[in-house]
């Protein structure tokens, strides 16, 4: 992650990432959590919900199980899966145009 230096500029935003142990997520301030595939779980989901943060993972089943908001498959064709129930729980709304281009459940 140090390769990102002062942050990753994308569009109008700059990302400043930190690598955090899943167990320490509850005591960390963040707005976006990118969850490693084997780190999804109830505790992580609760921490993300509590901060009204967006949860992103490569693990589609975590999204299907309601443990994370968005799953991104970027190997080959990019596919995005969105769990609306999780998004509502975290108080996150997505632009309508974006919702039309992803797989929702």
């Amino acid at each position: 992650m140090t390769a990102l230096g002062k942050g990753l500029p994308i569009g109008g935003a700059i990302l400043t990432p930190r690598l955090v142990d899943a167990a320490a997520l509850g005591s960390t301030d963040f707005g976006l959590a990118i969850i490693a595939a084997n780190a999804n779980g109830e505790a992580v989901a609760q921490s993300v919900d509590a901060r009204h943060a967006l949860c992103v993972t490569a693990d589609r089943t975590a999204v299907q199980r309601g443990l994370c908001t968005v799953a991104i498959n970027s190997a080959g064709r990019v596919d995005i899966f969105l769990n609306n129930r999780v998004a509502q729980r975290a108080g996150i709304t997505f632009a309508t145009a974006f919702r039309m281009m992803v797989h929702e459940q």
């Binding site: 390769a3 569009g11 991104i72 970027s74 064709r77 309508t96 797989h103």
Partner: protein
């Protein structure tokens, strides 16, 4: 680590998209960021719904800014000639006719051309004055080419296809560039594009450009045609502003002016020089609300045309035209699997010409449309769209005596026409997509078709008149497409087969057999003249490699049959002779290479023979066939980046032949252009 970085970048981009993406029409969609997310172009041109190009339920080709630049083209039709299924006829350097899947002709009325959703074709004949399209090539993000009818979204004239030119978004894209070019045929031209932005709240893009050149030498034309042709002179100005009023709420205003003078081939097979002044103003608003994406826009297009031709020397030769269009739509997602779009449109146009119309003709159209996209399973989607246009015709002025119609006949003419599009898209595997599409498009008679009024004796011993009773032409199309991604060679393959039936073909009055009018005078009347069928296939592959190479190869075939009342008895009066006037086969190939500071491209286009037409020297009401043999045209471009800000380039168009007969117009000549581009 590299994978993680790109994955993190993708995640953040999604947040940006979720925050920024708004409406489907015009420029509200942040194309750049969405393209960054999905690694492919996105579009709203197929259904009004934002979609990835690979998921659109139409046969669509997207030409990117990189593609445009690498052609070395100076006009939009010169870019389009490398799309399989697109036919470009070059009657002059500025006079180019574009058709899709055959049915191309001078004044082609079957193509809908838009800039960010705003129509840029002229209602007079339904034609496109390409030089007056107020867009510089450098400010185009992508050109979306839809092959086949799409009237259910756009209404009349989207019959052969739709070309939607999408410019960069002043709110999100910072384009600052200037180009100066010069070359053979005494060509001089330039363009400049500048963008100003206030954070993410407001953006303004201004562009200006133009060119002058000597046209192709008229050595093979008649003395009259040679006399009627004047050299092209083209200029355009455009301003495009957008304002982010609140999260999800965006307002925009754009305006344009263009002036052009160029020689144009007419449907009568003769040349005239048109001087055109066009302008437009549009304002719109979109809002992402709890009841969907609400969009509203209103615009006016104006055009003043002056015709310089010895054929109409006895008539007042100016034509003024305006069209007002108001559009409103709501695009909403219902549940996880359904998207619905409800659209309303009002159109009011008018054309005034004392010489050709005898007054003013126009119509009002009220249209309603409904689109429903159902994601049946994650890999199967069905889209249905239907639209009804209700037209009310009106006329004021002096009708040509002897036509048999009264002003009352015109002002009581109204009709409603439905159109539809259905498309089933099946992602059979992550690499294979199949599309099945059925559509009906509607071609409206042009204002000229409805309202031309040329009295007996003005151009000959005959009354020439429009017809308020002429029916819209309909096009029924069925198509099956197959797309195959070939990741091993970074390529995509497309195969398409289609069949279409055109009913109630509309002929302008000069081309129909004369009849005896109600007052006993010979009468030429706009008429429905029959039907035509077409079937064809296309196959193409396009790819690139990390080494810097890129390539494309495609082939398109179309066979057309006609059943009309025209051109009987050995006399040719009409260019509606699609069976012969459509080149059956077209092959396109290109190869390019980018390395370090160099960008090199070589493109070729071959097309089979066809028959074009020009006016008979002895009788202006008759046409003479011109056999255009099959030909190959090769273009090349080389560019070298001098610094981060300056690039020099040279392009050679048709470098394999000094002259080629491509149409019934003048021989198309080899062109070589040198230029320098500055980007900041």
């Amino acid at each position: 680590m590299k994978y993680w970085l790109s994955y993190v970048a993708l995640c953040v981009t999604i947040i940006v998209v979720a925050a920024l993406s708004a409406g489907p029409r015009a420029q509200q969609l942040d194309y750049g960021t969405l393209e960054q997310v999905f690694h492919e172009p996105v579009t709203t041109s197929a259904t009004g719904q934002p979609q990835r190009a690979s998921e659109a339920p139409v046969n669509m080709t997207i030409i990117t800014q990189d593609d445009i630049r690498r052609t070395g083209a100076t006009t939009i039709p010169d870019v389009l000639q490398y799309v399989a299924g697109v036919d470009v006829r070059r009657y002059g350097i500025a006079d180019e006719e574009v058709g899709i899947r055959g049915y191309n002709a001078a004044y082609n009325p079957r193509l809908l051309v838009l800039v960010n959703g705003r129509q840029v074709y002229s209602d007079d004949y339904g034609r496109v004055f390409w030089p007056t399209v107020p867009v510089q090539l450098a400010e185009i993000r992508q050109i979306e080419v839809i092959e086949g009818p799409n009237s259910a979204l756009y209404g009349f004239n989207a019959v052969s296809g739709v070309i939607n030119i999408i410019t960069f978004d002043p709110l999100h894209d910072r384009i600052n560039t200037a180009t100066l070019q010069g070359g053979t045929q005494h060509y001089w031209g330039g363009s400049a594009v500048a963008t100003g932005q206030i954070e993410d709240r407001a953006g303004l893009r201004i562009s200006v450009g133009g060119y002058q050149t000597q046209d192709y030498a008229p050595a093979n034309l008649s003395a009259v045609d040679a006399l009627n042709r004047r050299n092209p002179l083209v200029g355009a100005f455009n301003v495009d502003g957008r304002l982010q009023i609140a999260p999800g709420v965006q307002a925009y205003i754009d305006g344009s002016m263009s002036d052009s003078r160029f020689a144009e081939m007419t449907f009568e097979g003769s040349f005239e020089t048109n001087t055109t002044r066009a302008n437009s103003i549009r304002a719109g608003l979109s809002a992402d609300t709890g009841i969907g994406l609400l969009s509203f826009s209103a615009y006016r297009n104006g055009q003043e045309l002056s015709i310089d031709s010895s054929a109409v020397a006895g008539l007042p030769s100016w034509v003024n035209e305006s069209v007002y269009i108001v559009q409103a739509s709501d695009l909403l997602k219902l549940g996880a699997d359904h998207v619905v779009r409800i659209g309303l449109e009002y159109r009011n146009n008018a054309e005034t010409s004392p010489g050709f119309i005898g007054g003013t003709i126009g119509y009002q159209v009220y249209a309603g449309s409904l689109m429903w996209n159902w994601q049946i399973t994650p890999s199967v989607a069905l889209t249905n769209a239907v639209r009804v246009d209700e037209l009310q015709l009106r006329y004021s002025g002096n009708l040509a005596a002897g036509s048999g119609f009264t002003v009352g006949n015109y002002n009581s003419t109204n009709f409603a026409v439905p159109s539809f599009n259905s498309g089933l898209v099946v992602a059979v595997t992550p690499q294979d997509t199949v599309r099945l599409m059925i559509a009906r498009g509607v071609q409206l008679p042009s204002l000229f078709d409805f309202g031309v009024q040329i009295p007996f004796g003005a151009v000959g011993p005959v009354v020439i008149a429009g017809n308020p009773d002429v029916h819209p032409s309909t096009v029924d199309n069925i198509e099956l497409d197959y797309d195959r991604a070939l990741p091993a060679i970074d390529s995509g393959l497309r195969f398409a087969v289609f069949a279409q039936r055109n009913r109630d073909l509309i002929s302008q009055p000069f081309a129909v057999p004369p009849v005896l009018g109600p007052t006993g005078l010979p009468l030429l009347l706009t008429s429905n003249v029959g039907s035509s069928n077409a079937m064809g296939a296309q196959i193409g592959i396009k790819g690139h490699a990390d080494s810097g190479f890129r390539w494309n190869v495609s082939y398109a075939y179309v066979a057309t049959t006609d059943n009309t009342v025209l051109n009987r008895g050995g006399l040719i009066t009409s260019a509606i002779n699609y069976a012969n006037s459509t080149p059956r086969s077209v092959g396109i190939a290109g190869i390019g290479y980018t390395r370090d500071r160099w960008e090199l491209d070589l493109m070729g286009r071959w097309q089979s023979s066809y028959q074009d037409f020009r006016a008979s020297v002895s009788n202006p009401f008759l046409l003479e066939p011109v056999e255009v043999r099959n030909y190959v045209s090769l273009n090349a471009r080389a560019a070298y980046r001098l610094t981060d800000n300056f690039t020099v380039h040279v392009s050679a168009q048709q470098f394999n032949a000094s002259q080629l007969l491509q149409t019934a117009g003048p021989l198309v000549e080899r062109r070589v252009l040198f230029g320098i581009t500055a980007g900041f």
